[in-house]
């Protein structure tokens, strides 16, 4: 018996059962639906931020300090000047600590430690550090620097907490970028008789620079948005101060404090501050992306 390819029978063979087609269509539709669902919150957040936040923006908003009045409707509530400046100062200090330290550790890991026992240990602990909840960083600094020294909240203590938070991110991203630098590049420099540190300084780092800057900027953006580590370290205050040794305000903490207020104008201020913070973070992200495009690696 041999089946001849009679056309009607062949057509039968070439039919796809409608239920299979339906399942395919339903599956793809569901997946598309879920994807749209994933994007909706972003749209809503941006929309609401703009709607509520822009209304609060004004020149006064940025140039006056919050008055600390969150209750009386008749008095003014002020703007967010100290919060903005505070965030800038605290994050700047945190970056100044975390970035050099982080890059140094990453360089050591890639160039010297490599796959040795000790290096693996360090990597493990860096991994551990990445997963620590942000509030625990705050608690730690609190124990060590506030209780331990018997002094009070201070801006720089908040910076240290933030630096601890940034450290693993900087180390990890720097490490990834450094690993991408082709081994051949290092080898040819070494073969020319250049000492290791010079190869690193003159050749490896410059090549890796754009990538590392990207990683750093993302770490900074993340630190700028953190609230919990600052709650018990830098505390909060209303006045602008450039003294990192005393209480210092910051945008996230300001927002956090304002959220619970019953006064509408204070809540509106919180929205304005939120918009400012998000704008700042987005700016940093954008910068990071632009720089990463100029990278010669990856």
């Amino acid at each position: 018996m041999s089946a001849q390819g009679a056309t009607p029978e062949l057509l039968g063979r070439l039919a796809v059962s409608p239920s299979r087609r339906r399942r395919d269509r339903i599956a793809r539709g569901t997946i598309l639906g879920a994807t749209i669902l994933a994007l909706i919150p972003l749209v809503l957040i941006v929309y609401y931020l703009l709607k509520k936040g822009l209304g609060s923006w004004s020149s006064d908003f940025f140039t006056t300090d919050p008055t600390g009045n969150t209750f009386f409707k008749t008095s003014t509530i002020g703007g967010i000047k100290s919060a903005i400046l505070g965030t800038i100062e605290i994050v700047a200090l945190a970056s100044a600590i975390a970035i050099p330290l982080g890059i140094a550790v990453a360089v050591w890991l890639v160039e010297y430690g490599r796959d040795g026992r000790f290096a693996q240990l360090v990597r493990f602990f860096v991994d551990v550090l990445t997963g620590v909840p942000s509030i625990v960083f705050g608690l730690f600094i609190y124990i060590v620097l506030v209780v331990g020294t018997g002094s009070s909240y201070a801006g720089y203590k908040g910076s240290i907490a933030l630096a601890l938070l940034m450290l693993p991110v900087v180390i990890r991203s720097a490490e990834v970028i450094l690993l991408l630098v082709p081994a051949g590049l290092r080898e040819s420099a070494l073969a020319l008789g250049s000492p290791r540190w010079r190869v690193i300084a003159r050749i490896v780092l410059p090549t890796a620079l754009p990538g590392m800057v990207t990683g750093v900027l993302l770490a900074v953006a993340r630190a700028a948005g953190e609230t919990a580590p600052l709650l018990f370290t830098a505390g909060s205050t209303h006045v602008t101060s450039s003294n990192l040794g005393s209480f210092m305000n910051s945008l996230p903490v300001q927002i956090y404090n304002d959220v619970n207020s019953p006064t509408e104008s204070v809540v509106n201020r919180a929205w304005g501050a939120a918009l400012t913070l998000v704008a700042l973070i987005l700016l940093l992200n954008l910068l990071a992306r632009l720089i990463s495009r100029r990278s010669r690696l990856a």
Binding site: M1, S2, A3, Q4, G5, T7, L10, L11, R13, L14, A15, V16, S17, R20, R21
Partner: protein, 298 residues
């Protein structure tokens, strides 16, 4: 069905094969061929025969670039046709148009007609999914699904149509048809990726056979295999042609001479010559064909 012993090498020449056609070495003359009776024993009676495929004016494009430039070619039912030609001449592309895999590449498209018996597979009323079930494909690199057992690999295609029939029976038949049953019958639940290269490729053939296609396309199926595995597969091809039409792309001319009934020579996207294998290799009509088969280029 009585199970046969391992590796059958019967050297009596099968009366159906074409006469000796000026092959170069003695080792090639000692082609191991399985007699028709042995064929039926191994794979069961033929219940399903192949169909002819006819290309009419087939062109294939990658974006704007025309890779296959108008081909008219017929593959007769239940025959093995080899496509030979230098690298880049478009043989793989052409073959991938037959089961409409070519269009899966972004920006790629095909024009012309591909007639499976009397139906144009490019007809808009025909579902591409069904075409691929009727026209199977074996790829260059063996690619069994890594997360599936041997059994599941072969059954994968069958499960798609969820027909109630006995899966075990069909899987066994397919594995026998691929000459793999004896080797794996006792370890069907082991992962497919644990087999040797040659076995994996035969697994892929079994996988294609399970859905009972009319045509099987093979794109350089032996190029990643060692010579012994290659010969096993060539032997298999000879058995299989009783049930399916086979089109095999190969860059190995000796292989074409061994397995194919007819051979087509392609150059630069065009069909130069097609004819019975012995003719193409001993008395080709086109000088370019002669140059290629005598090794002057390619």
């Amino acid at each position: 069905m009585t199970p046969t012993g391992p590796t059958e090498q019967v050297s009596n020449l099968d009366p159906d094969t074409p006469p000796d056609t000026g092959r170069e070495t003695a080792s090639e003359a000692a082609r191991p061929i399985v007699s028709p009776e042995r064929r039926e024993e191994r794979a069961g009676p033929v219940t399903h025969a192949g169909l002819s495929v006819k290309l009419e004016g087939l062109k294939a494009f990658y974006g704007k670039a025309e890779q296959v430039k108008g081909i008219d070619l017929e593959f007769k039912a239940n025959e093995v046709t080899a496509i030979i030609g230098p690298s880049g001449c478009g043989k793989s592309t052409m073959v991938r148009c037959i089961n409409r895999m070519h269009e899966e590449i972004p920006g790629a498209r095909a024009e012309g007609r591909v007639m499976l018996d009397k139906i144009d597979v490019y007809d808009p009323s025909i579902d591409v999914v069904a075409v691929r079930r009727a026209i199977g494909m074996v790829f260059q690199k063996p690619n069994p699904f890594p997360t599936m057992s041997i059994f599941d690999n072969v059954a994968a295609g069958l499960r798609l149509t969820a027909r109630r029939g006995d899966l075990r029976e069909k899987v066994e038949r397919a594995l026998r048809g691929a000459g793999l049953w004896e080797e794996v019958a006792d370890r069907l639940s082991e992962p497919g990726a644990g087999l040797s290269g040659g076995q994996q490729q035969r697994l892929c053939i079994a996988r294609s056979l399970a859905v009972e296609p009319e045509v099987i396309l093979m794109d350089e199926p032996c190029s990643a295999l060692d010579p012994i595995a290659t010969l096993r597969i060539e032997e298999l091809i000879d058995e299989l042609k009783a049930r399916v039409t086979i089109v095999i792309v190969t860059h190995n001319m000796q292989q074409a001479a061994r397995v194919a009934d007819r051979t087509a020579f392609m150059l630069d996207g065009k069909l130069i010559e097609v004819g019975p294998t012995p003719t193409i290799f001993t008395t080709p009509s086109d000088p370019r064909t002669e140059e290629y088969v005598t090794g002057k280029f390619g």
